[in-house]
């Protein structure tokens, strides 16, 4: 065991140039994937927070009484995808309207009677904040008898959520591409680095070393490089992030960015180690066979 570790560390220090190159490659790959994830996760979080403001307004008929109101509220709350329902009386609505209007406020200055209807303001769960799902909810609400009309900014929402959906789609596709490419780069670099050592492996086989004896230290090295590269990549990202986000904090006080969740960080390092192993496996399989 001690001899194994000695050999593994000789392995690591024997060709510092190739090993450094491999670690840098891994670090860069991890950086690519995780930087994109960071970017994507933050944009998504921001936009989601923003979309959350979207409400469905359901206007009641003029003749609906107090008891019916709570019954309807109950029914609406039961609809799938509805997160919260708030009753907005016609008086409240008038007040809101008055504050909303600015230059047109003079229009309603002299009104004697309140012509606005009672209404429900309905909040939609995040996973239903896609245009067609929101629409489904709206239709269901509209089907309730005492509801006169439903309003949910169709135009705007449709456009925005479709763009956002596209954005998400493209983001996932890109993340997938980056991940694949990274695995390729890393395993390939390790493979090329080992390629120049196929003679050495052949010689070791000829003098009677078992496959495990030959490859053990190499696998160890591959995984160690994966660990190191992953850690370096994440550290660089974190440093860059800290630097930038403190500046952001000053420039854009409203924007709140956050780093990748710890689970994801651990996942990235683990995948990076596995890729180190994979690179070894791919090349060693070739060399050992031949």
């Amino acid at each position: 065991m001690i001899r194994f570790l000695i050999r593994a560390f000789k392995e690591i220090f024997s060709n510092l140039f190739l090993n450094a190159v491999t670690v840098v490659t891994i670090a860069f790959s991890v950086l690519i994937v995780s930087a994109f994830l960071l970017f994507f996760v933050n944009v998504e979080a921001m936009v989601s927070a923003w979309i959350e403001d979207i409400r469905i307004m359901a206007y009641l008929r003029q003749d609906v009484s107090g008891d019916d109101i709570s019954e309807i509220q109950f029914k609406i709350e039961a609809i799938e995808g509805v997160k919260a329902v708030r009753f907005v009386s016609r008086e409240e609505a008038m007040e809101e309207f008055r504050t909303q209007l600015k230059h047109q406020a003079s229009l309603i200055q002299h009104l004697k009677e309140n012509p606005l209807p009672d209404a429900f303001e309905i909040q939609v769960s995040p996973e239903f904040q896609i245009w067609d799902k929101t629409e489904t909810i709206a239709i269901k609400i509209n089907a309730l008898l005492p509801i006169e009309d439903v309003e949910y900014g169709q135009q705007w929402l449709e456009r925005f959520t479709s763009i956002f959906k596209l954005f998400e789609l493209a983001g996932y596709a890109l993340a997938g591409l980056f991940f694949m490419a990274s695995v390729f780069f890393v395993s390939n670099t390790i493979r090329l680095a080992l390629y120049s050592r196929r003679d050495e492996i052949e010689i070791m086989q000829l003098v009677g070393a078992s496959d495990g004896f030959i490859t053990g230290p190499m696998y160890f090295k591959g995984m160690f490089q994966g660990l190191l590269g992953g850690a370096v990549g994440l550290s660089v990202l974190f440093s860059a992030f800290s630097l930038i986000s403190s500046n952001i904090g000053q420039m854009f006080s409203e924007v709140k960015v956050c780093f990748l969740p710890v689970n994801l960080q651990i996942g990235i390092v683990v995948v990076s180690m596995m890729t180190g192993w994979l690179g070894c496996y791919l090349s060693l399989r070739r060399f050992l066979k031949s």
Partner: protein, 243 residues
């Protein structure tokens, strides 16, 4: 005890029939080129055998057949009870450890020191950790290379590399020594030293097979000589020691 006669008392009685190495109608083809054709040779335990022949006659190829350096194209090879055709991949290291091989092109690992090149074999055969160092150093001393242990093979002269290769071949205390032109890069004195080493190993019970075109060496030593010609056995005979 004469060293080059295969005296009966040197063999355990139950091994008397089965030779240590048996090649039975062995062919080796590289594409269209036939390197070995219908070779049948038995080599008993503790024999000391020369393989000779012109350049390209098939000497190195014949040696390769015994340690699975290349697969046999046709025929059977049995080494120490192992039928090589039926040897599974993971048991090949076991076969190889029976051999100590001095390769014609040395095959030292250029990126490891002389010490590590030898320690590798010492370790691979399962020597206890604290004994490795002692063994490596004594091996290097026996070939006169103890002061070069930290050198890398490309920093050695041709003859020095060959001596390291000899030391490595002996590192695993093998049953069989295959020496492919073991003194080709050596001056007379160094060659003698290496040759004495091989004879000492033989005296300790190893089987030694030397491929060489150095007819003078063979004539001076005497013993069994297998002469190859274009991939076939031309003669397989015992010649007397000259001096």
């Amino acid at each position: 005890m004469t060293e080059f006669d295969d005296t009966p008392e040197a063999k355990p009685s139950d091994d008397a029939i089965a030779p240590l190495i048996r090649l039975f109608h062995v062919y080796k083809r590289y594409g269209a080129k036939t390197a070995l054709a219908d070779i049948s040779v038995d080599i008993a335990e503790k024999e000391f055998v020369f393989i000779s022949g012109h350049s390209g006659a098939g000497k190195s190829t014949l040696l390769k057949m015994t340690y699975l350096g290349e697969p046999v194209s046709q025929g059977q090879v049995v080494v120490d009870g192992l039928n090589l055709a039926r040897l599974s991949r993971d048991r090949i290291p076991l076969l190889r450890r029976k051999f100590g091989i001095i390769f014609q092109d040395y095959k030292l690992i250029p990126t490891r020191t002389v010490y590590d090149n030898i320690a590798l074999v010492v370790e691979a055969v399962g020597t206890r950790g604290n004994l490795i160092d002692k063994r490596v150093k004594s091996l290097l001393r026996s070939v006169g290379m103890e002061d070069r242990q930290k050198s890398y093979p490309p920093g050695l002269s041709g003859g020095e590399q060959q001596r390291v290769a000899v030391a490595r071949a002996m590192a695993g205390n093998p049953k069989i020594i295959l020496a492919d032109e073991p003194t080709g890069s050596l001056d007379h004195d160094a060659a003698e030293m290496i040759f004495d080493l091989l004879k000492k190993f033989h005296a300790h019970g190893a089987t030694v097979i030397i491929a060489t075109h150095d007819t003078e060496l063979i004539r001076n030593t005497g013993g069994r000589v297998i002469i190859l010609k274009q991939g076939c056995v031309e003669t397989d005979t015992v010649i007397p020691k000259l001096r």
